[in-house]
Symmetry: C3
Subunit: 344 residues, 3 copies
């Protein structure tokens, strides 16, 4: 990014009320991270103290009457958050353009159903026999689309993603690099001292508008389907076992693990590093705090849970507080003991 | 899947005792997940309640005298579990057929030892110099086999797997997509304010019949070998440090981490999200519950451990119960205090 | 490895004081893991007991006057640790040689800036438009370098690594197989019942001499940069959220997760499976024990923290001890109660 304060004021339709229009800007950052080469923004009064000490070169501000260091240029705009967004869209890293066509370095089986004038298959990708790919979808470099996989329209399959045979991916789904969809579920029978594999012959179905973070793994069902419901957003390094069913519009944060056959409702939030045991149900709109360990079903919707085993927030706080009370208890018992000893 | 109840009855050698042989079936599911297009099965009396309320189109049942909704067709078979297995093998997603040959889109170094009439190398795979690949083995698309790697017979190397130089993989080993075998162990010496790399020049040896889940990482030894013993099954996103030695027929569930140089015995089970510190020993047939944190060696075989630090189950339960007793203790101490105050 | 004790003595410049120079050695191992085919070493008196019982064929020792089983050959050297290092470098698995050139099986966009006589691009790698790759750098098989990515000199990009558009990688950086750099941060706004994506338009900047373990994921910033400071070493399966800033020379062990916008100082150690919540600061030289959960900022440098929530080691020990005291408390209160009952 190379630009001037004047150009930025013009871009966002704002008024330069302090500083030089010629000054050059080369980066952008939050108020407390910015240096004099950076555009920043003041969008919320709770960052008043950061504004007062910022080293930014330019701040997009809702008013000229704000307390910012003298060296900081100010451009007044109606909505600084939206204006800043305009700046980073104009000068930030651009996502690669969608260029339809099949790279010569990729492998697409002859019986794949896709329209090469509307689908983009990048170098070193593999699209296996009988797969179908919808228009507007991009298959990233090094990704591997298994036999008979069906991918909807305008989906973004990242680099080095693997989707195994028979899985179904909806419209506008985003799979980030390294995601694995449809690996075998973890199922064995113990026969004569050895773990014998139980075949995993189901699929994974990912509904429309789901986003899945880097290196997340979603296992295929033993039979039937593992399902990720419409609009659910999954972060990096999440592990989802076979036959799990996740509802719509959930938020599953990084490094969560959900064991086989559990069912997560709609609008559920599982914060980072949470674990959910197998064959459980979690009701709609449940929130589990970071690193919760859910080992029994949550049947009432809308609750907030913490800890391992996960308990309603209140119970969890009470238990933590109680441990802190032991010190006091020890003293009180000691006092009682000496009183009684005296009275004996 | 498109079939009729009559065809399924024939396939499993069962008798249609209720419902129409012409009814079409297009899917299969567990009793409580099935709709009228689904074949299901009733294999265990503990699912009696699910049978009584199932919406399945057809249930494979051990008897005609069971309580199922009237709309549900019944086919009686001797063993419903095996019969259902037959159905899903016939109509479920088929794993890709093994087709020997080396894809033109792959790269196989000239000095690799493999028989192209008996090995399958899929598109965009890389097999490096001096590697050896046994008959019946498949190398998945996008996978990278390092220099001098030796892979046994009938192994299944998934898509986008990486096996680094010198590692040894046994017969019938399954590595799921995204697995990394033989990356450097995490070893540094702190010299003059900087972490200096300690070279990692050993290998990983994976014995026969091991299965390794998607995106699991197994580091090469500092010297000598990191070993995964025969028949051990490892789930997704497990991390195994350098010089770890895992015995035979263990079960290591998702997101477990085992630090460097620890030794796990035979028939050990580590449930999901367990952590094992470095340089420990875990005795044969130990079971660690979900999210255990093992920070000292377990020397007696056959025990069950929970919690962090991992303790025998009984001790763990006792500690949990004690925290619950604090509330009662507080009340009893208060009562004592007021009694004594009265008596003063 | 196939050699004799005599050759090893010569290699390390040591004196054979016991055993036959003709005896063949084929492996190396620690004292307690070695068998008669193995070279081992005795570098530290704390392993005296292991030396007394070792089954090694040959031990490199600082002196002839040590207690080792009679069957064990001894070669005396000044520094057994260095001498052993010499042996494993000579006979251990060799890392693949650096061979400059662009594999015909790779894809390098026409406008990439790199010198093919000094850079190595291995088969099935993809280097996208406008990328720059410094001399002495190797791009591993199956890896994907995004548009406009800048990689320094003598870097090692492992197999199946993904680096997304615009990210910056320093000199001598090592990215192990399966690493994902620059996937989108996890950011959504909840609008009318749906999670709406917040564009992630920043980058990741990895400074010189950083090493990143297999399958670790480092998300791009919302805007500006996610930064990994010079000399920091990151283990496998670590998750680093958007806009995180990690200082210089830190050690981040396997399966750690750091949430968005947190700032880690210099010389910080986060042991395995630690979690750090978002928008926190961790002061220089802090150490967090295995599986710590940091949920508030740590402002004083140099402390050691444990537990969830992470507390200074002392506090953590006290809380653990207190739980153990509840049993005693119960008994003492019972005794008091019966005394008072008697006195009533």
């Amino acid at each position: 990014m190379k630009t001037t304060i004047g150009e930025i004021a013009e871009l966002v339709g704002g008024e330069l009320v302090r500083g030089s229009a010629e000054a050059e800007m080369s980066n952008f950052a939050a108020l407390d991270q910015a240096d004099s080469s950076c555009v920043s923004f003041y969008g919320n009064p709770k960052y008043k103290d950061q504004l007062a000490e910022t080293k930014a070169g330019l701040v997009l501000s809702p008013s000229a009457e704000v307390e910012a260091p003298e060296a900081v240029a100010l451009v007044v705009v109606e909505n600084p958050i939206l204006a800043f967004d305009t700046v980073i869209r104009a000068y930030g890293v651009k996502p690669p353009e969608f260029v339809p066509g099949i790279s010569e370095s990729s492998y697409v089986a002859p019986d794949v159903e896709l329209d090469p004038s509307k689908v983009s298959v990048l170098p070193n990708a593999t699209v296996s026999s009988r797969a179908k790919v919808g228009n507007g979808t991009r298959i990233g470099s090094g990704s591997v689309i298994g036999e008979g996989v069906v991918i909807g329209e305008n989906a973004e399959i990242g680099a080095n993603v693997t989707i195994r045979e028979g899985c179904i991916i909806g419209d506008r789904v985003i799979l980030h690099p390294g995601v694995v969809v449809g690996a075998d579920g973890f199922g064995f029978e113990f026969v004569e001292g050895r773990h014998q594999k139980i075949e995993q012959l189901g699929i994974v179905r990912i509904e429309d508008d789901v986003e899945v973070g880097a290196s997340t793994t979603i296992d295929r069902a033993r039979f039937g389907e593992t399902v990720i419901g419409e609009g659910t957003k999954i972060d990096n390094q999440v592990q989802i076992g076979h036959n799990v069913i996740i509802g719509k519009h959930c938020i599953i944060v990084a490094q969560v693990g959900i064991s086989g056959s559990s069912r997560i409702g709609n609008y559920v939030t599982l914060a980072a590093q949470t674990g959910v045991a197998g064959h459980l149900t979690i009701a709609d709109q449940t929130t589990c705090g970071g690193r919760s360990g859910v080992i029994s079903s949550i049947t009432e919707p809308g609750g907030t849970y913490f800890g391992y085993p996960a308990k309603p927030m209140k119970e969890n706080l009470r238990d933590s507080m109680r441990v802190k009370q032991i010190g006091g208890l020890l003293k009180r018992v000691k006092a009682l003991e000496s009183k009684i000893a005296q009275s004996e």
